[in-house]
Every structure is written in C-alpha cells, then in structure tokens.
C-alpha cells in the first residue's frame, strides 16, 4: 500500500491543535520503546519520568521553578516568531541577562535600597536586549540571517560567562571553583514561604498574559502579525519592517534576559558556568508546541519542565542516564515538525498501479 502527500489547499484548524497532541502521544510511545531497549520496564519508567515528579509538593514546586524561565523565554520567542523573525539565541540572551544583572548585583555598593533588586532585574532585561539587538543590527544592516547570528551569539555569551567566572569575577573565597560570590540578600529573588517557588514563577505567566494581549489587541501586535503573515501587505499598510524587527528581537531578548537574571538571583544564587541547561533551546520547542500562542506556551513549558524533572527522577530511581531529557525534547520536536505537515497536507492512499496503466492504453 502506498501513500501520497496531497496539499489540502487550506490550513486544517483541527491539525493546528491536533498535531501537538499527536506529537506528544508518539513521543511517549517512542520513549516507552526506548526504555524497553535500555532494559527498564517501560510502564514503570514512563511513570517515573512523567508522573512521579507531579506527586509531591516538592515536585510541583520544582516544576514551577523549571517552567518559569521556559515560559518567559518561550513567550518572547513566540512574539518574535509571529513577525517571522527566527531568534534561536534565547540561551545567549538569557546568559547576557544573567551577566548584566549579576554584574550589577556583585559590584554595585549594595545598600538596602528597595529599588536595588528591580534595578538588577532591569539590568538583566537590558543585557538580553543588547544581545538580541546585535542580531537585529546585523540582520537589518548586513542582511545577515538571524538564525545563524543569534545561534553564534549563544556560544560567545557562553564563553564570556566562563571567562568571567573563572577569571575576573571568580569568588576569592570560592576554593578556586568557577563561580562568583553569592548575591547579597537585597539582590535575591524572593521565595514564597518555605517552598522553592519564587517571584519569577508568578511573573512568568503574568508576562505571558500581557504578551497575549499585546499580540491580540494592540496595533503593535497587529503590525507584527501582518509582517509575519504577509510582508508585502505590511509594506502596503506602511508598517516599517525594520522597526518591527527591532521590536521583535528586543522584546524576546529582554524576556530571555529577565529569565536569566531571575534564575541566577533566585534558584542558583550566584553566577556559575552552568546557569542554563539549554533553556533557550528548549524554549524554541516550547514556542512551537504552544503554537506561538502565549497561553499554549504556558502549557508547553510545563510539559518540557517536566522532562527535566523526569530525567532527574529516572536517573535517581532507575539508573537511567540523564540524557533522556534531551532525547525526550528532541523526539518531541521531531514528531511535532513531522505532524505539522498534516496542517497543510493530507495522506491519500494511492490507487493500485494497474488502473493507471490500463487507463493509459
């Protein structure tokens, strides 16, 4: 039996939302098969990976902590992608945000001013914006592809971070570890009660809702969507492509920077070489899985946050390698991109070949 892909001629609304569901189901099946190959009972492993982290208060608060940066970066990327600007350098903007805000927190004479912590956050936002701004500048000035430049800037940011925490910013009392001093109390993201849930976990969904309103209701959001869907129509309407590219990149860079500074002033508490487990890249999956919709991004971020926790749980309880988190994310993206074909195409069974040869006579 042979199949052929046939254009539908229109977007299938069913598959716009059905494709992530199908991708998640296929990912779970694949992960089960992979667990079986690795010698772990599939159902037990899947339960450990996907369900056990959700069964305790500690687990749920960890989920919120992991999801917060993914939501912030993911919603910024969704905003950016709406304008057809493909920023995949969220990780670099996250790192620069952490460095800019972290630098201020470490080296400004700290007095307990109430505005010091907001100033640190603002510095983080600006750091992310600068890093994304370079991408905008290169794209508009030299027509350089933003996918490449934003990706390359991730590695530059990473190297700056390593240089700083192993060199000039290394904690003199840190026994030579590549890390900065801990941030002071006035530059620390507050937690809620005794849990690990911090201010960022509240801020992230609020920002997502704000971006949702901007995309849907504001003139700016409208311009962004027009540029993304029909660049010529945007020109016809007189919307400036350059201005919108700047805004798209600065907003997504700023949100990534904010995620970075909250992460280092919150759960981590200092600058180290390992401040991000690839949040910026995972957020790309988050943005697409969430269909570039801020509310979808919140749900997608929760699922991918779960994959980090599940990886830890599988490592501790089943002795499976921690790399399954990355595999889960990769497989999910793979299936998502594959299933997205169904939005524009349908499978059609080919008629038996005999009919065609007969007809040709």
């Amino acid at each position: 039996m042979q199949f052929r892909l046939e254009p539908r001629g229109e977007r299938s609304i069913f598959w716009v939302y059905g494709s992530p569901v199908l991708a998640i189901l296929l990912t779970i099946l694949t992960m089960g098969a992979m667990f079986a190959v690795m010698g772990a009972p599939p159902l037990v492993a899947l339960e450990t990976f996907l369900i056990s982290p959700l069964t305790s208060v500690t687990g749920l608060s960890s989920l919120a902590v992991r999801a917060a940066p993914l939501i912030m970066i993911g919603v910024g990327l969704a905003f950016c992608y709406r304008a057809n600007v493909w920023n995949i350098g969220g990780d670099g903007q996250f790192t620069l945000g952490a460095l800019a805000g972290g630098g201020l927190a470490l080296f400004c004479p700290t007095e307990a001013f109430w505005w010091f912590y907001p100033a640190v956050l603002l510095a983080g936002v600006l750091g992310g914006m600068v890093w994304a701004g370079i991408v905008a500048l290169l794209k508009l000035r030299f027509n350089a592809n933003e996918i490449l430049t934003s990706l390359m800037l991730v590695y530059i940011a990473q190297l700056i971070l390593v240089w700083l925490v192993t060199g000039p910013w290394r904690d003199p009392q840190g026994f030579g570890f590549p890390q900065s001093a801990m941030f002071g109390a006035d530059a620390t993201t507050p937690n809620f009660g005794a849990t690990s849930v911090h201010l960022g976990c509240l801020l992230a969904p609020l920002l997502a809702l704000a971006i949702w309103q901007i995309i849907g209701r504001s003139v700016l959001g409208f311009q962004l969507r027009v540029v993304g869907q029909a660049p010529r129509a945007a020109r016809y309407a007189g919307f400036s492509n350059a201005k919108l590219t700047w805004i798209a990149l600065l907003v997504s860079g700023g949100l990534s920077g904010l995620a970075g500074i909250i992460e280092v002033t919150g759960p981590i508490g200092q600058l180290t070489t390992g401040i991000t487990p690839g949040y910026g890249f995972t957020a790309v999956i988050v943005a697409f899985l969430g269909r570039l919709h801020p509310v979808g991004v919140i749900f997608a971020a929760l699922l991918l946050a779960l994959s980090y926790l599940g990886g830890d749980a599988a490592q501790i309880n089943l002795n499976l390698p921690n790399a399954i988190t990355g595999i889960f994310q990769g497989v999910l993206l793979f299936y998502l991109l594959g299933a997205d074909i169904l939005i524009l195409y349908r499978f059609r069974r080919l008629r038996p070949a005999i009919a065609i040869t007969q007809a040709a006579e």
Binding site: R11, S218, V219, Q229, A233, Y236, A237, G238
Partner: protein, 518 residues
C-alpha cells in the same frame, strides 16, 4: 439551445454528466461537453462558474465524482496530466510556469515527459514556431521576453507533443490587440490542421470572432450550447450571468478646470525586484473628478508605478510626486493615507489583503489611519468591526460577517470588500490597479459604479489596468505604460485602439508620443 451545429462524426472529446462536488459547493453539476475534430470550441462563463474545475478534470488534474469521458469515441479515465498529454491533450495555463533565469529551450526541455525527446529540440522549436507563426528564439532567457512571447513558449511546449486537443485558459488577458490577432491566426491554423481547441474565456467579442461553437456555464451547470457568431455579445453575456445586464453608460465627466490633485513630475525609480522594470521619467497629472487610465501589458512597470504612488518605494526627490501642491515623494504609505490618499494594488492575496486574517482585521490594515480605528495603541474592536460591517453591507460582499477570514471569500467578493474599504475612506486621490482582475461580471459592475460615484464626488482616480475595455468604459483620459515609460495622457474619446496598441508595444510609438507635447 442550439444543437444542430454539433458535428455528426465521432467527437474528439465527449463529457457526459460530469459531477464534481467540493465541500460546500457543487462545482460541476452534470456537465456535458462535446468538442469535435478541427473545432475551436469556447467554454464561456463567469469566474466561479466551474470552467476551471471542468478543465482540470479533462487535463487529469482532478477526478470527477460521476460522469464519463470519451476520447475519440472510446471511454477513458484520465489519471494524471501526464496521461492526458499521452492521449494528446495539451494545455496552456493562464499563469505560466517558466523559470525566468533559464532560456526558452531549457524551459521547454524541463517540461518534456521523456528526456530522449531533447535531442534536436532547438531545431524542432524553430520549426514549429515558424510553421505556426509563433516567433521564438530558443537561446534567449525568459526574463527578457514579453508576456506574449512567454505565452508562445507554453504553446510551443504543447505543440511539441503533437496534441489533438489544445486547451487555452484565458489566453488573451495579457496580450496587446495586435498580439491577440496573431494568436487567433495561429489557433485557426492549428484547428485547420487537425488540432481542436478548447478556448476558455469570458471575453465575448473574442469568442464571437474565433469560436465555432460555445458551451456556456453558470454556477456549475451548462446553461446553453450555441453558435457564438449567431448571438450578439449582449445575448452571450446575458446567458453567462443570470440577470439582465444593467446598461453601463457612464457619462464621461469633463475636466472641471480645477488645479490637479496629483502631479507626477519626472518620476524615475529603480525597481526593487529582480527582473523588475525601472520607471523612467514619468509625468502626468490628475484633476479632481477625473479618472486617468494607465493601459499596458503586464510587466511593463505597473507594479512599480503602483508601489511608487502608494509610497512603498520612495521617489528620488520629494517633488517627483505632489499632492495638492505638497511634495510627498519621500513619504511612506501611512503618511500619504493621512493626507487623503487611498491605494489598492493588483494582487489581493498577501498585498492588498492578508488571507488568514479576518475581514475586520483587513479593514483595519489600510483604514486605521483615516478611519481612526485605533486608540492609544490598541485596536478599537468595535469601530473596526463596524467599519468592516459597513463595507460588507455597502458593497454587497457575500460573507458570514466581519469575522470571516479573507481567504474564505471568492476572488470577486474579496475584491468588492477591498474596493469598498478604500472607497468608504473617501480618499481625495485613489490609485487602484486591476480592480476587476479575476472578478465576475456582477462584482465588476459594482466596482465600476463605486469608482464612478467616487470620481463624481471629486476624487482624482488613477486606474492601472490591462483590460482596455475597462479603461475605455471608465476613464476620461488614457495613458499607456510600456517598458517603464508612460505616454502623455490623451482624452479617451480621441484615442484609437490602433494607436493604443502601438504604444503598448513601446519603442518608436512611445518615442514619438513623447516628442510631440500633448
């Protein structure tokens, strides 16, 4: 109904009871069609009448839900376009599929089913093109060729396969009157040599001049088989569209002697498109209440002129374009709209409108400046919806409402919406390109009425169109664009078709027109 003229011998192609159902629309409802040997047969109907669907079934692109096809007397199932070509059916599409950067011969070679056919291809191209009066140089690159020459490539490509039936889809919409005459000579010659022609069009005079028999479709059904020469154009039109045609006799307004609203002064612009046309030294002016038609063959700088007038491409100097005495050459589209200009480009999808967005949003796209549809940086949803609803009502747009997506509308309905969107903003100057391209006769009439009413209210209108009939019907003055130059405008009443045709060809006629100050 007139069936006597059907040929008595076995017809070449006979369709019986063809049915094709699409979601929400019965595109072909028991359609019968018979094409005899040596016959030039017209398939006539408005956009949306089901002509394209029927042709796609004949050419193997689609399969009918019911009905039978017989080819030279034997029943067939046409499985694919390749199969159709193997049977001897060739098709020249309305929109060409050519690679601009490749030569004529390379383009033709790419379309061949069998690579072995490439040997001696150049010689065969030359032979066929001279035999049928289709001059073509196989070594030239396509981007240097006129639209008429490109069409010849497609025809020669079909003729290389020795077809017994050649399907031509709206072939004359891009040709000058002279080129149309040459094409007709070629088609008559082909028919006399045994290649039947199925000629799809909605241009009635052409069909009366060329075709021996006609099948007329309306709303998916065949409404008549007739002999076009025995009918007047008006009778054919009435068969094609259900209602009696409203008499369209727009009194041509005479210049009021008022100062011109829009003045172009030596506008010269380099095209921003690869293989685009540069605009050279364009000067004209339009007075209030005046409609200036810019005629010309596609690809002679119309889209560049549109972009220059709308502000999508800035002019070299602000004074190249003056609006009510104010230089606006450097202003962008929004600033020009704020001054009271309205624009509507030729391409609806992705330029004049955003397909996946709702009609309300598409209204906002161009009307938010003058319609005050935004407030404090937010979209005023109520005003936006009301504006779109007003356009839908005022221009009889058939749709479910302002929340319908633009792409869900038929071409004619979307165009009515877009024209209405610009007209309801009551612009002082309106620049509109190809307003009735791919639009059915009913919608076209509504668009014409709206434009004339707008001009009567004092708007200066520039109408860029490849449809000469449209320009002659609506415009007070006519100018011709060829190779990026625009001839001095002349009153429509003084213009002759021959003169316009020569100007469309550019070259010497255009030089002469510029040498004599109008």
């Amino acid at each position: 109904m007139d069936m006597q003229s059907a040929p008595s011998a076995t017809p070449l192609l006979a369709l019986r009871g063809i049915v094709k159902q699409f979601p929400g629309c019965l595109a072909n409802d028991h359609v019968d069609l018979t094409v005899g040997a040596n016959e030039i047969h017209a398939l006539l109907g408005e956009n949306g009448a089901g002509k394209s669907t029927l042709v796609k079934i004949i050419y193997g692109v689609m399969k009918p839900d019911a009905g039978s096809i017989s080819w030279a007397g034997a029943p067939v199932t046409i499985a694919s376009p390749a199969h159709a070509r193997a049977l001897g059916i060739g098709m020249v599409f309305q929109h060409f599929s050519l690679f601009e950067a490749l030569t004529v011969a390379e383009n033709i070679a790419l379309g061949l089913n069998n690579p072995a056919d490439r040997a001696g291809l150049t010689e065969r191209i030359v032979e066929i093109s001279t035999r049928y009066g289709l001059p073509l140089d196989p070594a030239r690159a396509v981007h240097d060729l006129s639209v008429g020459e490109r069409q010849r490539i497609e025809i020669v490509r079909c003729l290389l396969q020795n077809p017994k039936l050649l399907i031509m889809d709206e072939p004359t919409s891009v040709l000058t009157p002279q080129e149309v005459q040459k094409l007709f000579t070629t088609l008559r010659r082909l028919a006399s040599e045994g290649c039947s022609i199925l000629y799809i069009s909605h241009k009635l005079e052409e069909i009366r001049a060329l075709c021996e028999r006609a099948t007329i479709m309306r709303l998916g059904r065949v409404v008549a088989h007739c002999t076009p020469a025995e009918k007047t154009a008006r009778e054919l039109a009435e068969l094609m569209i259900s209602a009696k045609l409203k008499t369209q006799d727009f009194a041509h307004r005479i210049g009021h002697g008022a100062p011109p609203r829009l003045v172009l002064d030596r506008l010269t612009i380099r095209s921003n498109q690869q293989f685009g046309t540069d605009l050279k030294d364009i000067s004209f002016s339009v007075a209030p209440g005046e409609i200036l038609g810019i005629a010309g063959i596609a690809g002679n700088g119309q889209s560049e002129l549109m972009d220059a007038l709308s502000g999508e491409i800035p002019a070299g100097s602000p004074k190249n374009i003056m609006l009510d005495g104010v230089p606006i050459g450097h202003e962008g589209p929004r600033a020009r709209r704020r001054r009271g200009c309205g624009f509507l480009p030729e391409e609806r999808n992705g330029h004049g409108a955003v397909g996946p967005m709702t009609l309300a949003e598409n209204g906002f796209l161009s009307a938010h400046v003058r319609g005050a549809l935004d407030r404090l940086g937010l979209i005023n949803r109520k005003r936006t919806r009301d504006f779109a609803a007003g356009v839908i009502k005022g221009f009889d747009v058939r749709t479910t409402g302002p929340e319908a997506e633009a792409r869900s509308l038929s071409g004619g309905n979307l165009q009515k919406f877009l024209v209405g969107r610009e007209v309801l903003q009551q612009p002082g100057v309106l620049v509109i390109s190809q307003p009735t391209w791919g639009v059915d006769a009913g919608a076209a009439a509504a668009i014409y009425e709206a434009l004339v009413a707008l001009a009567e209210a004092g708007t200066a209108i520039v109408l860029i169109s490849q449809d000469l009939d449209e320009i002659l019907l609506l415009c007070d003055k006519i100018a011709v664009i060829a190779a990026g130059r625009v001839s001095p405008p002349m009153p429509v009443k003084q213009a002759s078709i021959e003169q316009i045709g020569l100007l469309m060809g550019g070259g010497e006629a255009m030089e002469a027109a510029h040498a004599v100050p109008a």
